[in-house]
Symmetry: C2
Subunit: 498 residues, 2 copies
């Protein structure tokens, strides 16, 4: 494809994307395809000769789009939102055209320098203190792919620091602390690194957030047993229920255990800190006081297209001392002189994408006020939904709404005032969720909170309005009635309700 053919295909792609967003509301949220659909439509061998690009672009519309789950659909409430802004797309497009793996300053000064600047912008946007800014010269921030990568890096840095200060401790004595509500990134890091993970208990009474006392007891018991907990992965806004670990209490414990690294994973909820009114709920002050590292994913609720996970550390040496490998072919005059950041030593790989560009585009386009408006709108829509749940006959919250997330379940209110066991209710809710998940006009995900089967609704798509929330709650109430009816019939006929 020459430059003029690209111009033509590029315009067409832009038009296709406009069409996609104009028609988004009319599409099914969830794809209708069956497993294996694409293998029946695409040859199993690569073509010998090149094909005209227009055929390929047409096939994208014909074969691929019908197999997409539309995360930007206004009735997509599953998992967490995935950011998609036009400004983010354009940032990606320009970055893709430069195709620059700026792994060190020399490899592309602009890539490194823009990242240094926008990470400070992002820190200031969220209220992170000067200790985390690149301009501090000590701490600093860096763009990662995902919160999993960020947590893995934090754990590696924490282990490296711990081993330097405790050289005699064997690897199999080290323990990563999470809670039972921590994202799978905690367990996965444990698998990857071959380290023990201990998931601390949380209760529904504490809204599934970790208490200081639980941490203190665990530290005492494990230390006594000869184990070495070296990092706590605390969460602000868990995946299952938006729970927030009590970082104020954790702080009072952590001061007595200065070797315990505190990583705060605020993958989803962290961006809410752009609004001053949510900073206390996110324990911003405590994060600024004690966190060794902090992560939030702008590609979730932060308007910057995937991948855009941000990781800040209180001391950049934590990363470079754990990760720096400099073979001769990567040495540069600027790096040797220490005049520049070589971001390759701040992450797992060597090559890296020019992701700061989309941050720059999005933050400048929206401004602080634009971010605040978007966050407040998502939370307000979730409040509308929460109100509908409160008014519902059979649906109730399992835990209070958190930011833009509601977790609820079906608890029948029958005239007989019959009381149900947890197993019965779980069986009913699984059937209820099966009904919802078989629908193509809405997407929600299920979870289990301390043994209670429940359903999550997360708000965040740009096109979602109050009407979509009302439609969703009407649909969820109808399906609840239907699920209950079928369940009671099955139940009363003597069959197992499971």
């Amino acid at each position: 494809m020459d430059i003029e053919a690209f111009r033509k295909a590029g315009y067409k792609a832009i038009d296709d994307i406009c069409d996609y967003y104009y028609s988004l509301q009319e599409k099914s949220v969830v794809s209708n395809v069956k497993p294996g659909y694409l293998a029946e439509l695409v040859p199993s061998e690569p073509p010998v000769k090149g094909e005209p690009f227009q055929n390929i672009a047409n096939d994208y519309q014909k074969l691929i789009v019908p197999g997409l789950t539309h995360w930007q659909h206004p009735s997509f409430f599953a998992y967490y939102p995935t950011a998609c802004t036009f400004e983010g797309m354009l940032g990606d497009l320009y970055a893709s055209s430069a195709s620059n793996p700026g792994f060190n300053w020399y490899a592309s000064p602009a890539c490194t320098e823009l990242e240094v600047i926008v990470m400070d912008w992002a820190a200031k946007l969220l209220g992170l203190g000067p200790a985390f800014w690149n301009s501090s010269g000590v701490g600093g921030g860096c763009i990662q792919s995902t919160a999993s990568d960020a947590a893995l890096i934090a754990i590696v840095a924490a282990r490296s620091l711990y081993q330097r200060t405790h050289p005699d401790v064997e690897l199999d004595k080290l323990v990563i602390y999470t809670t039972t509500q921590t994202h799978s990134l905690g367990l996965k890091a444990g698998l990857i690194l071959g380290l023990q993970v201990r998931a601390l208990e949380v209760t529904s009474g504490d809204k599934f957030g970790l208490r200081g006392e639980t941490l203190r007891k665990a530290l005492e018991a494990d230390t006594k047993a000869g184990k070495h907990p070296f990092i706590l992965v605390a969460t602000v806004g868990t995946t299952s229920s938006g729970a927030v670990d009590n970082l104020a209490e954790i702080k009072t414990v952590a001061v007595k255990y200065p070797s315990l690294w505190i990583h705060v994973d605020a993958a989803w909820a962290g961006v809410a800190m752009v609004c001053p009114e949510y900073r206390e709920q996110c324990y911003l002050q405590d994060i600024n006081d004690i966190a060794h590292s902090f992560c939030t994913n702008f590609h979730k609720w932060g308007l910057v297209n995937f991948d855009a996970s941000t990781l800040w550390v209180r001391d950049r040496k934590y990363l470079t001392e754990a990760l720096d490998v400099t073979p001769p072919f990567l040495r540069t005059a600027e790096g040797d002189a220490g005049r520049v950041i070589d971001y390759r030593n701040w992450h797992l790989a060597l090559g890296r994408k020019f992701r700061s560009l989309k941050f720059w585009f999005v933050i400048r386009s929206y401004g602080i006020e634009g971010f605040q408006k978007y966050i407040r709108q998502s939370i307000s829509l979730n409040e509308s939904f929460a109100e509908k749940i409160s008014q519902s006959k059979h649906l109730e919250h399992v835990t209070p709404p958190s930011f833009a997330l509601s977790v609820f379940r079906l608890v029948p209110k029958l005239d007989s005032q019959r009381v149900f066991t947890l197993d019965e209710l779980n069986g009913l809710n699984k059937q209820y969720y099966a009904r919802i998940s078989s629908r193509k006009d809405i997407a929600l995900t299920q979870t289990v909170l301390n043994g209670v089967s429940c359903i999550r609704l997360a708000v965040g798509a740009a096109q979602t309005t109050k009407e979509h929330i009302e439609k969703a709650s009407a649909l969820l109430n109808e399906e609840a009635e239907e699920a209950l009816k079928v369940w009671l019939e099955t139940s009363s006929s003597g069959q197992s309700p499971n």
Copy 2:
């Protein structure tokens, strides 16, 4: 930005990219900016109010483009090429617009299914055998971010397998084998995982490729010493010199050590296997016979924009048994039934980009023949350069040219027939490289091969022609003369040549 504003800004972006490629040859290859240039031009605070997008797009041209090193410039010969095709950009653009983190089948069927298909296409393109195809149902392939990620995953999978079959072996007895020429990804994986790395020696006589005998001796000695080498990271096309480890000999050793995982990192050179005539040189047959895992980066020499690293494994269970974590909120009917691949269990993170789209676009646009033409052209250009080196008065190869890479140094041929020590030559070559790296009209990188300072020239940018190669060799000869002149003057005046 609404949809129509996006259309306007999108057309403008496409036009900007066309202008960039039309004007590429007139630009400096390497940026002229000094460390810290951007902080002087960009505010240190994020804006409170959003700005018109056109201002931002203009600033990209004004502030960012001058700070880029142009990896697509026809005179960029540093590191390795980074793929950038218009088809790849368009694939990225469509993928960005769908913003779909298809981490499991339900999260977007098309993302998973297209990846399953294009990874088989890519395997067939390279000649990888059926054992590595997804259609085998046993082995399979998956797109990763970088060869570092791929190697890290292979090492984690190998460690996990080794520990399952050798449950009593302690972590600190495990050893990762690399060679002294392996990319820094080997050492970095060791740092990340807290495992020992042993770099096996290679010689210039063996063109820096690992011999079977070296491996055998190391295995015998380490096993005797109670150590457990569990993986060899072998390389097809090292970064420094394009060296290829002798996989035929490694095979004869490996059959006696069935617990030794063989990971083949062909990050750069692997794509050469699209041409049947390079398959033997890449030891394709031996890879098919013994490799547990194989990686090549299509984002280097393979026409697919970053990130596009491909990893194949002989048994997908190696990955899933090492990496599978399935919390309730990630459970799906299709996954539970085992009817689909959940790629989240094949890589480090959870979320993943829809990268298969750009593979599909590029492979269909170029076809097998297009790939072959591109690879052959790069190699042919390097052969032209190699010829120029052979004809040069003072330049000579340090090791034979490998694929599209030449490694050379300045070895003065003086009338006095003076012979120089290695230290003297290294000093001279460092000065020579300093001259080259201070130029903005060409980019090359330096390296050290078993103590010998040398310079690398890697071909691969799409616009590079024989004229650029001739210009490069003329420039390198001139700089060699100048460097030599200055060095001899300094040298003869009694100052240290270093």
